[in-house]
Every structure is written in C-alpha cells, then in structure tokens.
Amino acid sequence: MNLAVLLEMACASFGERVAVRCEGQSLRFDELFSAAGAGARALRESGARHAALLDVTSPAVPVALFASAWAGLPFAPLSYRATDAEIDALLARIAPAFLVTDAERAGRLAGRASLAILARDAFLARVRSTPAPEPDWDMDPEAIAVLLFTSGTTGAPKAAVLRHKHLVSYVLGSVEFGCAGPDDATLVSVPPYHVAGMAAILSSVYAGRRIVQLPHFDARAWIELARAEAVTHAFVVPTMLARIAEALEAEGGALPALRALSYGGGKMPLPVIERAMRRLPQVDFTNAYGLTETSSTIALLGPEEHRAAAASADAGARRRLASVGRALPGVEVEIRDPDGKPVAAGERGEIHVRGEQVAGEYLERGSQLGPGGWFATRDGGSLDAEGFLFVEGRIDDVIVRGGENLSPGEIEEVLLAHAAVADCAVVGVPDEQWGEAVAAVVVPRAGASVSAQELRDWVRARLRSSRAPERIEFRDRLPYNETGKLVRRRLRAELAGDA
C-alpha cells in the first residue's frame, strides 16, 4: 500500500482537473502526479532518510507529501512557529533530511551537514521542470508515510508515526473515490504540521476536489478567498469559525457557494456553532473528532444531526450539538474507567479507540496500542445510549481537589449553559488547603453582565459544591493556539503567578 496509488488513481480519472491552487498558482492532478515523481527522484538523489517541510501551506506541501511516499521516505512537516532551538532539535532527530522551507530560512540553514535544503520556490521549479520516473514506489503497507511532532507540554515533542496502511485505511473508509463535482473546491487554512492538514490533502485528492490554500489565516482573507474561488467546502478549527462568523456578521455578507463546513481540532463553544449555523443556514456543518495518532477523524456529527439538535426544544436533544457524533464505520470507541473496565452509557471515563486507521505509535517509543489493538486517547468523555460521543478534554487536565478528581469539561459545560457566558475555561490552581483549587476564566457574552458569585451559585446548584470555582476571572478572550487548542498551561501559569 502506498499513498501514491491514491494520487495515481486521481491522475488517471481526472488528471486535467485543478488539484491545488494557491496565490494564483495552480497544479492539475496530472501535474501534481508528475511533480511527485520528480520530487521522489530529488529525494532519492539527496541520500536523505526523511523529507521535512518547514513552511506555511503551499503547493509544495502536497508535492512533498506524495514525493516522500513515492521515494519511500517518511514525510515530516514541522511547525514554523517553533523556536530555532526547537527546530534544530527536531532536525537532529530526522537527520539526514531533505528540507523544503521558506527562502529566508533556506539561506540561514544552508551549509548544515546532514541537511539537503531547497527553498519552496526552487523546489517547485525543480519538480515542475524534471520528468517523473515510471511509477516505482514500494508497496509495503508498514512503511512510514508521515511523522507529526505533537506539542508536548513537558519534555521533547513526541513524533507520531502514521504508516501507509493507516492513512490509506482512513481515506478508503471515509471518502468515496471521485465523489467531488468538477466545481467543488475546499479551502485549507490549517497548517501542514497539523494532522488535519495532511488529511485534507489526501481526502481531497481521492475525492477529486480542488484544494484552495490559504497560507496565513485571517477571517477577512478567508472570506475573500472563499468568494473569489467559489469555495464549496472547508475545514476550520473553532477559533477560525468564531472569527469568520464575527466578520460575516460585521459586513452582513454571505458565502453563496459554500455548501459544507467541517470543524474540529478543539472544543467548539456552543454559542459559536449556533451563531455560525444561523449566519450560514444553507451550509452543512460537520463536527469531526480525531487525534494525530488516529490518522485524523474517528467520529463525526453530521449535518442532519446538527439541524435536528439545533431545532429541538428538548434540552437533551439540543445537547447533542456539543457531541462529536458517532464513530466512523470501521472504528470502535469505548469509554473505560481508570482500571480499564468499560463503563455504562452516560458514564464518564477515558476514550479508547481501535480500527485500521488507528496508529497509536511514536518514534523512539514504539506502539502504544494495548491488548486487542485499543488506543488510550488520554481524552476524557462519555458515550450516550445511542452511541453519541461527548469529549471533555485531556485527562491530564483533571483537577485533583482534596483527593477528588474533577473534570474541567464538566464544569465548563455548566458554565457555558449560563446565558451570560460566551466562552470559559476551568483549570486547577495550586491551593494550600486542597492541593488544587478550581479556577474559571470566563468570557462574558457581549452586552451581558454577571457576577462571580452568581456563576458560583449557578455551578453549585447543578453540580456538587466541590466543583464550584473558588476563583473566577473575567477576560475578553481565552488563549487558543493557531490550531484551535485552548492553551491551558498558559492559563494555569498566569493564574498561579498572580495567586
């Protein structure tokens, strides 16, 4: 198995269709296939053991991804937000490497031993002007296709290993070959080092859907590009959706071509999705939940489920809007207690998952899969009686107060149900008496006002009193990273610092 087969099929079936567009540049599927072959030749000639990319999204990303697959090298997209020291450490772990990067960095890193460097434009020019070899990629399903460095909170980042068999399985299990119409276009604004960035390329290629790339996310730029390219599909992280909905409301405009918007990568605040659904009533919304280690999406809440939940008067049915939906076919999800025993429907525990697409492996650490191939996600959550999955956040974020384990997600959910709360985050802060105390940072809804005491009473009336936040702070916004994840460690540090 090899990802290159997916591109080969696309090239044979709709080769003349545009595969990727970015800032006026286009590559058709047949050109992408040829460029991948030429890129594979360059990778082989360099003697590198890994192909790395340290850059914003551009046509060089799909070319480098498929070139790596063709050459049989793992593809490692690195975060351009990392510091020079962090990048040096990552490059040392994948040496000798072939690196595609921006012109400025290419100049700065030039001359390094064990690094073959090409600036993005030089790489693209080279692969577009050299002929591709005959298809000669290896078909070993166990070969590593992609390495993604996950943001560790402590210590060195873990390198999640995704093999060809995992990614091929994900694509075959979730995308119908050639299902896109000739005018379909998907806007990709997530960075290449995020698993959603890799999944977007693979899924779009297999569907035959044109990829429209936005290298730097900005709500106005996103909206303008969506209109200019008549974008029909897009994936966004929650913070992006919040800003897009705000910008659309401010200008009063529409996105007439947009049909499907999927989101994931972090917890979606209910007010944000409700606002977006009101603003874009013709759009099919899909919530996708997945992890790097599971080759992206493992569960989804589809458009009909969004509409049914939003339209329901019943609080339980409405709550489904906060769920990530049901497991994909071929993926099993189980909730387990700390002893590893499955729990009953509605009970909280750790989310475990298994399936052909679940890799659950890190470089230098090996497979983390347990007996039966189950992967412990370190995410807490619950399944309802109909199999809808609710994700509550990282288990490592659990607050231990006086020996009692408290889930921030449970408290956040209650706070978010208050009419005056637009967004909130609950974290543990050091406390002399309890070990940890519950602290909440609340973003009030525009025009609304609420006191800390009122919110404390609100939580106490709905949960046990130990869960009522001892500290409540009000802020204009919460710290999310560029891929939509709440940076809890920053909140914890800030709150602990001024305690």
Binding site: M1, N2, A12, M139, S174, F177, S203, A260, G264, T297
Partner: protein, 101 residues
C-alpha cells in the same frame, strides 16, 4: 498462486482492470478477473483481450468475498468481473459520509 499480501497489485489478464490488495486471507486464494487468473502488476504474460461479459470493475470500488477476509481496491477499471476461489466478489457497500476535512 501465492498467498496475497496487503499492498500487492494485480492486473487482469483479459482486460484493463488493476487492483490493490487491502486485506487477504492467510491461505492461498485464486483471484480471477473476467474468468482468468490475475497477474502481478508489471508481470509479462497475456495482454488484454476483448471485453468480457459481466459488470466489469469500477475504479475506487472495494470488492470483497463472502467470508470477508479478502478485500481488493480497484485502481483501474476494466470490463472483466472479479472473483475469488470461483465465487464473484461484491462491491463493499458504504454509506456516504459527509466530508470531514
């Protein structure tokens, strides 16, 4: 007739069909297309003949046997139909999913 492995690519001896093995049983299995044994991709041998009767193969469809231990992805369509151990393979039905990325 070797044991098939995931990733193995085969071509029809009688039409344009090509497949990639997704899943295969641990034992030997005879896979045919248009009634003739399939060949390793790139292998010499008979070249494509005239179209066969049958439904043929469709690119992107996954074909499975009744036991559920053999799955082939059609990577190039052709006029011949697929069978294993003499029994026709059927298209693996899949409910279309909304695009999630």
């Amino acid at each position: 007739m070797p044991v098939l492995k995931p990733g193995t690519r085969l071509r029809s001896a009688v039409c344009a069909t090509e497949v990639m093995v997704i899943q295969a049983p641990a034992h030997e299995v005879e896979v045919t297309c248009g009634g003739a044994s399939m060949l390793p991709l790139g292998a010499g041998g008979p070249s494509p003949q005239a179209a066969q009767k049958g439904e043929g193969t469709q690119i992107g469809k996954r074909y499975v046997n009744a036991a559920g231990d053999l799955e082939l992805l059609c990577t190039k369509p052709g006029a011949g139909s697929l069978a294993a151990a003499g029994a026709p393979l059927v298209v693996k039905g899949a409910k279309p999913l909304p695009s999630s990325d």
